[in-house]
Amino acid sequence: MNFSVIKTLVAKDFRLFSRNRFYALITFIALIFYMLIYFLMPPSVDETLEVGLYAPVVPPSFQLIHAVEGFGFIEFESEESLRLAVNEGEYYSGISLPADIMEKFEAGEKPQVKLYFSAAAAAEIKDTIEIMIRELSYQETGQSLAVDVSYDILGPDLIGEQIPPRDRMRLMLVIALIVFEMMGLASLIVEEVEQGTIRALLVTPMSVRDLFAAKLIMGTGLAFVQGLLFMTIVGGLNSQPLLVVTTLFLGSILFTGSGFFIASASSDMMSSMGWGIIAILVYTIPAFGIMFPGTVTGWVRFIPSYYIAETIHKASNFNSGWGDNWSNLLILLGFIALILSGGIMVLRRKFR
C-alpha cells in the first residue's frame, strides 16, 4: 500500500465531498439541527403527576398517597383559585373535595367530588384521576382488597433518576448522523463510476487496495468525526467515554462497508440515494427501539447497528463498562469483517 497515494486520494475525496452541495449542506445542517433538537428537548423527566387539590378536609387516604413518589397534590386555598389555575393551564387537573366528605363517608353516603380538567388534558389523565378518586374512596370507607400484589423490579431501577427523553433521543440522533455518511460515500463512488474517473484512476500506479483504503478512511473519518463532535457537545461522553468513542469508530467502519454495498448495487446517483435511504431506515431501527422501548422485538439483533445502539445506550446512560459490553463489540467486529470484506469484493467487481 502506498501511503502517499492514499493520502492524495483521501484529499481528493474530501474536496469532492465538500463540493457536493447536497451532502455538504446536509452534513453541516444535520449536525447543527440534531444538536438543536437535543438541547430543545426537556433535560429531565417529570415522574410526578401533579394535581391541584382544594380540600377543606383532607381524608387520610389522600394524605397517604401524597407521600408516595410519583404523585403530588398542590393545595389551593379555595375552589375558585383551583378552577382558575386549571382554566389557565397551570395544571391539567384539579380535585375539589366537599367540606363534609368525612361525614358523608362515615354516614355511608356518597360525597360529591368535583374534578376539573383543562382542555389540553389528555383523556388518559382524566380517566386516571377518576380511577384514583374511586380507589381512594374505597380505601377511605374501609373496603380493602383481598389481593396483595408483590412486584419484582426488572432491569435497573431508575426511579428518581430517569433517563431524560433527550438522552434516549441522543442515541438515535448520533446514529442518524453517522449512518447518513454511508449514503454520501456511496454516491461519491457512484459518481466516479458514472463519470468514468474511476477508470482514469485505475490506469495509474494506484492499486485497487489503495483506492479502497482511501475510501475507507474517508468514509469512516467523516462519520466518526461528526459522531464524536456531536456526542462531545451533547454530553454523550460523560460516561465510559473510551467505550463510546470505540463503538462510534467501529460503527463508522460498519457504515462505510455498507456504503460499498450500496455503491455496488447502484447504477446512478438517484439509485444510490434510494438504496441509501432504505439502508438508513433499517439501520436506525435498533436506536428507535431503544428510544421507544417495546416497539421492536428479538429480530432486531440481526441488524448490525443493534450492537452499536445497545452499547452506546448502556455506556452513556447506564455507565455500563467494557465487561458488560465486550460481547456486543465482538459481534459488531464480526459484522464489520463480513460487511466490509463483502462490500469490497462486490465493488471491486464493479470497477473491473
Partner: protein
C-alpha cells in the same frame, strides 16, 4: 395538442416511472413517515402507562382492562413472555393472574399475585397502574363506588391529539413527494441524458411532454393523499370533495415540480433545494402541529390553501361552505402558476 401523443408520452412515463427510485420514494417515504411519526409522536408525547397481563385462568380482568383508554393493555401467553415484555419496557407493569382469580375475588379470598415492574418506568405509572388494577378488581368483586364524581372540562378548544396534529404534515408530504419530485426528477434526468432534445424535435410539443409528466405526478399525488388519509382513518364524510381538493393540491405540486425540473440542473441541486426550501411547502403543517403558532402565519404559504380544505373535510367534519373560499384561492394559485410553467416550457424549448 394531440391527445394520442400525450397518451404515448404518458405510457412512457408510467413504464419508466416504477423503476425509478424516486417513484419508490414517493410511495415508501410518506408511508414510512406515517407509520413512524404516528408511533413516535404518539408514544413520545403520550402519558399512557402500559399494563401486561398473563392470565393462567379465565379472568375477565384482561378484557375489562383493554376497554379502559387511560392505559394500554397487552395480554401475554406465558410468564416468560410477560417478563421479557416488562424487562424490555414494552409494558410498565406486568401481573400474573392465577387460576380461578375472579371466583376468589368474589368470595373475598386472600390472593397473592406476582407482578413485575420495568425498572425504567416512571413513578407516576407505578402508582396509577396498581390503582387502576385495584379498581378493576373491585369491579369484579361488585363493590359499589362510594363516591359521586362530576368531571368538568375548563378552557376553550380541546387539545388536539398528536396523531391529528401530524396528519396535515403527512398529507402534504404524500401529495408533494410524488407530485413535485416525479416531474422534476424526470425532467432533470431527461435533460442530463439529452433524451429531451430528441423528444422536442419530434412532433411532441413541450406542452404535451409537460402534460404527460404532470398526469403521472398528479395520479401518484392523489393516490398517496388518499392512502395516508386511509391509514389515519381520516376520510371524513365527503369523499368526492376531498379527492377534488387533493387533485387541486396535486396540480400545484406538479406545477412547482415542472418549474423546478426546468430551472434546476441536476438531482443533487434539486435535493438541496428540496431540503432547504422545504419550509415553504411544509410551513402550514408546522402551524397545525403547534397550535400556539397563530394561524395567520400559515396563510402566507400557498400550500395552506391545499391543506386547510383537506383538514377541514377529514378532521373537522366540514363541508363545501367551510372550504369554498380556500378552494377558490387554491384554484387561483393553480391558474397563476401556469404562467411560470409556460415560461419554463418556453425556456426549455429554446435550450433544447
Amino acid at each position: 395538442m394531440n391527445l394520442k401523443r400525450i397518451l404515448i408520452l404518458l405510457k412512457k412515463e408510467f413504464t419508466h416511472g416504477p423503476k425509478s427510485f424516486i417513484f419508490i420514494w414517493a410511495i415508501a417515504a410518506p408511508l414510512a413517515f406515517t407509520l413512524v411519526a404516528t408511533l413516535a409522536f404518539g408514544t413520545l408525547f403520550s402519558d399512557k402507562a402500559d399494563l401486561g397481563i398473563f392470565d393462567r385462568g379465565d379472568s375477565q380482568l384482561p378484557l375489562m382492562a383493554q376497554e379502559i383508554d387511560s392505559f394500554g393493555t397487552s395480554e401475554y401467553g406465558s410468564i416468560e413472555d410477560l417478563r421479557q415484555a416488562t424487562e424490555s419496557g414494552a409494558v410498565d407493569i406486568g401481573i400474573v393472574l392465577p387460576v380461578g382469580f375472579d371466583e376468589a375475588v368474589l368470595q373475598g379470598e386472600m390472593l397473592k399475585i406476582e407482578g413485575y415492574i420495568w425498572g425504567e418506568s416512571l413513578a407516576k405509572h407505578r402508582i396509577t397502574l396498581p390503582i387502576a388494577i385495584a379498581d378493576l378488581i373491585r369491579d369484579i368483586a361488585g363493590q359499589e363506588v362510594p363516591v359521586e364524581i362530576e368531571s368538568i372540562t375548563l378552557g376553550g378548544e380541546t387539545g388536539t391529539p398528536w396523531n391529528e396534529r401530524l396528519l396535515p404534515f403527512l398529507v402534504l408530504m404524500g401529495v408533494f413527494f410524488g407530485g413535485l419530485m416525479l416531474p422534476s426528477t424526470s425532467l432533470i434526468e431527461e435533460k442530463q441524458k439529452k433524451t429531451l432534445e430528441a423528444l422536442v424535435i419530434s412532433p411532441a410539443s413541450i406542452a404535451e411532454i409537460f402534460i404527460a409528466k404532470g398526469i403521472l405526478g398528479i395520479t401518484l399525488s392523489i393516490l398517496m393523499g388518499v392512502v395516508i388519509l386511509l391509514l389515519n382513518q381520516a376520510f371524513g364524510g365527503n369523499l368526492l370533495l376531498l379527492i377534488g381538493v387533493l387533485a387541486l393540491g396535486s396540480v400545484m405540486a406538479v406545477e412547482i415540480g415542472l418549474i423546478c425540473g426546468v430551472f434546476i440542473k441536476d438531482i443533487t441541486t434539486l435535493f438541496t433545494v428540496w431540503k432547504s426550501g422545504g419550509i415553504f411547502l411544509f410551513g402550514p403543517a408546522i402551524v397545525y402541529m403547534f397550535p400556539q403558532i397563530p394561524e395567520w402565519i400559515a396563510k402566507i404559504f400557498p400550500t395552506y390553501y391545499a391543506l386547510q380544505p383537506v383538514v377541514s373535510l377529514s378532521l373537522e367534519g366540514g363541508g363545501w361552505s367551510s372550504i369554498a373560499v380556500n378552494v377558490f384561492i387554491l384554484t387561483g394559485i393553480d391558474v397563476l402558476l401556469l404562467i411560470p410553467v409556460g415560461l419554463a416550457a418556453k425556456r426549455l424549448a429554446q435550450r433544447s
